[in-house]
Subunit: 109 residues, 2 copies
DNA sequence: CACAATACCTAAATCACTTAGGTATCGCAA
DNA sequence: TTGCGATACCTAAGTGATTTAGGTATTGTG
């Protein structure tokens, strides 16, 4: 069912954050998310690729075909200036939100 | 657009948490969420009432009509034993998730 | 030579949420 | 006295991100 794995909406900010380190291809972004969250978030490819296309369509990402270290073809994404602004705003939104929810849940029952 | 206000999926755990303090009616749950999150989360009634029905249908809540302090009719919800277990599990899920996402976003760009 | 991993993709289904209404009662201020 | 905001409930239509479940092709490895 929708949202059983991810809290819907958090994928975008994670993609943007991944790309803040430099251009990266889709498959590697998925790996980055899984690794930096220590397997807490396992992003399905069926969510990842449409998300990349969506963020690209919004002008937050630019893409370009290239070669990986191992010589395979891959589509590299990088943040546009608008995407970088969006990253900052979404990180702020996450922080505010997470703090608020955590505070509500933290209080003893 | 869907999810512009809430991160989809977080409403359920907030409702469950609100009811961990004792029976409460829907309108008051909405107020509790807004207040304890200091207006960060403004839950729309169009999301709140369907969510209450959903959680009730899942057997996590019981409901009963009653009177408010001011003498108005209201439908009071309370946690079932299953709902209480669900609360614990969803709080744990939120904490794990929030910690993982925050760590991924915290690292300097 | 088969199989896992890499690397990309899409279509259908699900379902929580937003938007936008609706009903009715109550208290209060103009 | 009337009109408006707050309380308290509700629903239907639309949106759109995600899950599920496939698909292609290449590369490296046991």
């Amino acid at each position: 069912m929708a949202g059983s794995d991810l809290y819907v909406g958090t994928l975008d900010v994670l993609i943007l954050k991944a790309l803040s380190w430099g251009p990266m291809h889709g498959y590697a972004i998925g790996r980055w998310i899984r690794q930096t969250t220590e397997d807490v978030l396992a992003v399905q490819e069926g969510a990842l690729y449409p998300a990349l296309h969506r963020l690209h369509a919004r002008g937050w990402l630019a893409d370009e075909w290239g070669l990986t270290d191992t010589g395979r073809e891959a589509k590299y994404y990088r943040l546009t200036p608008v995407g970088r602004r969006q990253l900052r705003s979404e990180v702020a939104r996450w922080r505010t939100y997470a703090r608020a929810v955590s505070a509500a849940l933290e209080s003893p029952a």
